[in-house]
């Protein structure tokens, strides 16, 4: 903790960064994002297992552009990030939302975060995404903090659920997903929490013509959830923020994971792992499979 605060203050003092996007403790088991711009703010920075938010969501093109306009791109934005959050930052860079030199990544060695803030009441400890996680060390970083501890990966419940759904008949699957999507209240928290949902104007907000109905009934809900999952296919890095943000507990990670598995199996591509690889859906290969087409 002291290391983090010292580093943040140093960087701010040296005028290397304009602000640190980090976490602050607001109660014993709850943290909140903070954009620290002064040494005073830096005193509040923390990193622990209650740091659930994926802060890459605050690294928007607009924010970086604004910074460049004011400072002529000398200053960077620093972000404190878990290894999985760094995957989002990499994915954003792959998609040309920002350059590597725009961001100062303060990486952490991570051994998993808690499931949700109210874990004390639920009695569950590790978040679902952390159970099968194998990336405890950041792939890209400018500074690295936190101690290394070996945490073995356990089998993934989401994959088991996906397999369970795959053996159902089409009608049963439709019924299952319809019942899940029916819960949707169209609050778009999933969109707001996702670092990769960065469109200036989302397709659901377009009204002439209105492609996806914005009122929460089964028809609009089905389209919205399918389109959301489709727009993230081959891009989602699996931070699970959409599902955590969802007030109705729709299993959104089922769809995201299914698409990620598809990307890995068909194209051996995992999103957000390398700055050099082009994005999967943004590129093509002449030798791609032609099986789908008559």
């Amino acid at each position: 903790m002291e290391e983090l605060r010292k580093l943040a203050k140093e960087l701010l003092e040296k005028k290397e960064i304009a602000a640190v996007i980090g976490y602050r403790q607001i109660s014993a088991m709850r943290t909140k994002p903070i954009i620290a711009k002064t040494a005073e703010d830096c005193e509040q920075l923390v990193f622990n297992e209650y740091c659930l938010n994926n802060l890459a969501v605050y690294l928007t093109k607009a924010r970086i552009k604004e910074l460049k306009r004011v400072n002529g791109s000398v200053l960077k934005l620093a972000v404190t990030a878990k290894p999985c959050d760094i995957h989002s930052v990499i994915a954003l860079m792959q998609e040309s939302q920002m350059k590597r030199e725009d961001v100062y990544i303060i990486g952490f060695n991570c051994h998993g975060v808690v499931k949700d803030f109210d874990i004390a009441f639920r009695g569950e400890t590790l978040a679902q995404k952390c159970i099968p996680c194998e990336t405890h060390k950041p792939l890209y970083f400018d500074s690295i903090l936190g101690e290394v501890k070996e945490t073995p990966a356990a089998p993934d419940k989401v994959i088991e659920k996906i397999k369970e759904i795959e053996v159902m008949t089409a009608e049963q699957r439709f019924k299952y997903f319809k019942s899940e999507f029916d819960k949707c209240i169209k609050c778009f928290a999933c969109r707001a929490a996702c670092p990769l949902c960065y469109c200036q104007r989302c397709i659901t907000d377009k009204t002439i013509p209105r492609w996806i109905e914005s009122s929460p009934h089964s028809r609009g809900n089905y389209s919205w959830n399918i389109v959301r999952a489709f727009h993230l296919s081959g891009r989602c890095i699996g931070c699970g923020e959409c599902e955590r943000a969802c007030p109705m507990d729709i299993p959104l990670s089922l769809l995201n994971r299914k698409m990620a598995i598809e990307a890995k199996e068909a194209y051996s591509y995992v999103s957000g792992r390398s700055l050099e690889t082009p994005t999967l859906v943004g590129s093509y290969d002449v030798k791609d499979s032609d099986e789908l087409f008559m």
Partner: protein
């Protein structure tokens, strides 16, 4: 399935190959099922998956997406981009419970009038065998029950002409 079920099929076809192929089928006096409604777009890469969802919303039983053969695209790479995207979209729809015959893909070039007829016949027969898209119709029925005042096709005026 009811015996007089006539499937509604929407085909999104690219201007340069499949649409011209369909034209050739017409000028060669080949016959194909009239269940299919062609919607011409400039390139198979320009077909947004929400078109497909919208078509299902409006009561389509099956959908065909067709464009130029690989390496044949009028815009060089449109169909290559489309191929990757459709791969994902198809997988997603299958996973969420749409039978794989409901959404089919093909490459039909401008000179393949006969192939166009074959493809359309196959899609029509597949959908006829499957019957109406009950799962999605259920959603529409629920919608009508919930909002009896609202027309099922909300943007009637903007989206369609008199004959749609």
């Amino acid at each position: 399935m009811s015996e007089n079920f006539e499937p509604k099929i929407v085909a999104f076809v690219c201007n340069w190959c499949t649409y011209t192929g369909a034209d050739l089928a017409g000028t060669s006096r080949l016959k194909y099922p009239t269940n299919v409604k062609l919607i011409r777009v400039m390139c198979s890469g320009g077909i947004d998956p929400v078109f497909i969802l919208k078509a299902f919303e409006r009561g389509a039983d099956g959908i065909l997406v067709s464009g130029c053969h690989p390496n044949d695209c009028h815009y060089n790479a449109g169909n290559f981009h489309a191929r990757r995207r459709w791969e994902f979209f198809d997988e997603l729809l299958k996973f969420t419970g749409v039978e794989k015959e409901r959404l089919q893909f093909s490459w039909v070039s401008a000179s393949e009038g006969k192939k166009f007829v074959d493809v359309v016949t196959k899609v029509t027969n597949d959908i006829r065998a499957l019957g109406p898209f009950k799962s999605y119709k259920l959603i529409n029925e629920e919608f009508t029950a919930q909002f009896p005042e609202t027309p099922v096709n909300e943007n009637e005026v903007i989206l369609s002409g008199e004959n749609a």
